[in-house]
């Protein structure tokens, strides 16, 4: 980046926008899933078949990625609001990253039935 300004208060903007965009993705996914479930016969087999479709898996995984990005920004904000000692805050940020990456990997296994 060439014209990057080194001062200013807009560094958080990218994260702020990402939190909003990911929130919108989750809302759309939630509403769409609810509508699908309402029109589907509620059975174990029906649910399994539904989730075996590639497009459902792709959209679910994309939305879950949105969840993890959203929560990374959100939880980091919470730590920054309440946790003042630098060392402890750093440790909690590190914990959050490990927690979210682990959850993401677990979600990949589950969504794709690995």
């Amino acid at each position: 980046m060439v014209n990057r300004s080194v001062i200013g208060a807009h560094y958080g903007l990218r994260d702020w926008v990402m939190q909003r965009v990911t929130a919108t993705i989750m809302v759309i996914y939630t509403v769409a899933l609810a509508l699908f479930l309402l029109t589907m016969p509620s059975s174990y087999a029906g649910w399994k078949d539904f989730f075996a479709q590639t497009w459902v898996q792709v959209l679910t995984q994309t939305t879950l990625l949105a969840v993890f990005l959203h929560v990374w920004v959100g939880i980091r904000d919470v730590w920054m609001d309440y946790i003042k000692p630098t060392g402890l805050r750093l440790a909690l940020h590190a914990f959050t990253i490990v927690w979210l990456v682990s959850c993401f990997i677990y979600s990949v296994k589950v969504v794709w039935g690995l």
Binding site: V27, V71, G74, I75, V78, W99, C103
Partner: protein, 124 residues
């Protein structure tokens, strides 16, 4: 120069207005969902597992303690969802007037409790 301003931050005696309550519950529910992520993914995992392990899963989910936790998480998601949508509208400067903001805050509380109740009863 340090200005001396009166400060009143005694959390125990401040009466939080309804939009404030919605806001702090949005934060509380978000943090609760963060810590429950492995459980939430496990719920999806179990629901998609093979027929035999599906029975084990049903037993786990049917445990009364688990049901209470799940109702709590259901409410957390419903509240975070409704309050989150309200915040998104506030972010684009819709509904900022005091009266409207109070009314939408009340709506968020009522709708998320109602949805929790309806879905909770349906799923129990």
């Amino acid at each position: 120069m340090q200005k001396q301003r009166p400060k009143h931050l005694d959390l125990a005696t401040i009466r939080l207005p309804i939009p404030g309550i919605v806001s702090i519950l949005h934060r509380v529910s978000g943090v609760a969902l963060f810590f429950s992520l492995p459980l939430l993914i496990y719920l999806l995992h179990g629901s998609l597992s093979s027929a035999e392990s599906f029975e084990t899963y049903r037993a786990v989910v049917a445990h009364p303690l688990m049901k209470i936790i799940l109702i709590g998480l259901l409410w957390a998601y419903m509240h975070h969802f409704c309050a989150g949508i309200r915040f998104l509208f506030l972010d684009i400067h819709k509904g900022l007037e005091l009266q409207t903001a109070r009314a939408t805050a009340k709506t968020v509380v009522v709708v998320s409790l109602a949805l929790t109740l309806i879905l909770g009863v349906a799923l129990w």
